[in-house]
Symmetry: C2
Subunit: 348 residues, 2 copies
DNA sequence: TTGAAAGCGTTACCAG
DNA sequence: CTGGTAACGCTTTCAA
């Protein structure tokens, strides 16, 4: 067991209370005494005991707010499940987590959710999947600067805001990874199409596309690129647009499905009888997509660590507030998982 | 905050002590009272508070033993680092972890390490990377049956022993995954070679090979298979054997490096000038191997989650002993990571 | 400026 | 069979 406050107090011939005040710079300690206490503490590598600390604060729990968008998608459900588990775990450590979930992509709604958490529930930290717009950015900076509320973004980032860190995939890199795999499966022949629903205020999807194009069209590549933009991620909409794509594009060898609507894309491929001729790579490690791998419709699925995206923001914020530990990095980039037929058996 | 022992006690009109005894079946509680207490507890979803529990046991810490082999390899170093971090974290929860590390693959040494932990240090749980032999298996079963010591295997399993669970890769599946990728990069042409050092008592490597062969040689495959066995994992030994392989095998299109000695294989490929003609897939997500991806010598590296393999055995054992929670599964299969040029930037 | 005491949730121990 | 008390490490509050 590491050294405790009490032991330091005995070593220095003072009381626990004094040691506590000295180490946390709360004043009311004679400078010489404070210096000696700090010296002893660092010498013995003192770290506050989490269990004791949490217990002592049971009367005044810390409140952390969580704001999430797109909670209706299966992937975000997995993230949410993980966040709820972490919240339950943290409840034993005097941390309360308040969730605010949204299916819309409306910045005004997001900002009002944040405000409600701050004003009504007096949260002392915030984790969110931010919308990519100035309104939200301004709000986050205000919380940071004027209220000193630490913020962590997850799943999607807002790089210009003054958040503590981002936890999620490097979307540019995941687009590049798909391009590399696409070159492999198409043997660099024919035309490759990207299918994307252009969600306003949602930067992750745009970045995937950018990374993909950058890597696919390197000098010397024989591949043609066709970009398809569909109005939304509805299954039937994706189906129709994919059918049209298949009909109108001669020599189509690959499809990269960037946004949800995967089921429509797959059905169109199957119904047109070209599932084995046109290679398909999609995002999102969800049961339906893994099934498409198993039945040979999709070549690869790109996954990301839903567990970590749900749990890490909360545990980092709890550490930050309770132990005064800042996150060690600005970017916690989660795995870019390459899933194919034989490495998905143990998932889900 | 969840319901506490104290609150249950008040609801039932008894004292904390009685509730404690009732819930843990320690006897000395009138049956009717015990039944009522349990009913109230389940009704309110009582879970013991981890912080309080840990604190109350500070005077009598739990001791967990860890026995690891092959600690000299870079991958096992990463696992060990993660286990040490977890041990530090658990020290605040009244858990002490005692490590016994070995570079040899000697069953007699492993058994004596286990015995020392049990006899001298009185560990109440054990996590180990077992050698695959009857001597170790018998010892583990003895600990389980006669001493009631819970055991978890990690990184490599001993499926016939009565361990609680296994945490690590599904090695058969990872071999199959490599075969799938190998078919892709070689376009199913030519001869593919496997290079393996036949470590006695080490089942993980044999399983990788078995999975690979099973999947590569499916009916209709055009690929030829050449199995190369080298005496050990020494770099120079691997180098010489790879050079010979390259010289003697006409139409060699792929190499699967199963065991350490990777550096020798890569050097041979580079020195012979055939690095871009012969495709290479290796195991182990270590810096040297990722470098081989970056410089284009290796096509893929198969990684596994070193973090989880180090930390999960300890936290599951701590939960098992402190909270009486059995692991939920017999197999915790960690990721089979497919690493290629664009998804390794954020690693290491 | 400092110390002492209470309380957080749990277990262990001892007295009734 | 049951209840009370002390202890774990820490913060907070009150008194000196």
């Amino acid at each position: 067991m590491a050294i405790t406050l009490n032991q330091i107090a005995q070593l220095c011939g003072v009381s626990r209370g004094t040691v506590d005040r000295a180490l946390h710079n709360k004043g009311n300690v004679r400078p010489e005494v404070a210096a000696r206490i700090k010296a002893v503490a660092t010498e013995h590598g003192y770290t506050p005991n989490r269990a004791g600390l949490a217990l002592s604060r049971a009367a005044h729990p810390i409140r952390i707010g969580v704001v999430m968008i797109s909670v209706e998608t299966p992937f975000m459900q997995m993230v949410l499940d993980s966040a709820r588990r972490e919240a339950r775990r943290l409840s034993a450590f005097s941390v309360e987590v308040i969730f605010r979930l949204s299916q819309s992509l409306d910045p005004v709604e997001q900002v009002s959710m944040i405000e409600e958490l701050v004003e009504q529930h007096h949260i002392s930290a915030l984790a969110l999947t931010p919308l990519d717009c100035l309104l939200v950015e301004t709000k986050l900076n205000e919380l940071t600067e004027q209220r000193g509320i630490p913020i962590i973004t997850f799943n999607t980032d807002l790089a210009n805001s003054r958040r503590l860190c981002y936890i999620g995939q490097d979307n540019l890199a995941s687009g590049r990874t798909v391009a590399e795999l696409m070159r492999l499966v198409t043997r660099e022949c024919g035309t490759v199409a990207t299918i994307i629903a252009p969600f306003l205020y949602h930067s992750a999807y745009r970045e995937r596309l950018a990374g993909f194009k950058e890597e696919l069209l390197t000098p010397g590549s024989q591949l043609q690129l066709q970009e398809v933009t569909i109005p939304n991620d509805n299954r039937d909409v994706a189906y129709e647009h994919t059918l049209r794509l298949l009909r109108d594009t001669p020599n189509l060898t690959g499809i990269y499905a960037i946004t949800p609507g995967y089921a429509g894309v797959c059905s169109a491929l199957v119904d047109s009888g070209r599932a084995h001729e046109v290679h398909l790579i999609m995002h999102d490690e969800i049961p339906a997509n893994l099934h498409e791998i198993r039945r040979g419709v999709a070549d690869f699925v790109i996954g990301q660590d839903a567990q970590l995206q749900g749990s890490l923001p909360l545990s980092l914020l709890a550490d930050h507030i309770q132990l005064n530990q800042r996150p060690q990095k600005e970017f916690y980039h989660t795995d870019i998982r390459v899933l194919l037929r034989h490495n998905i058996d143990n998932l889900l």
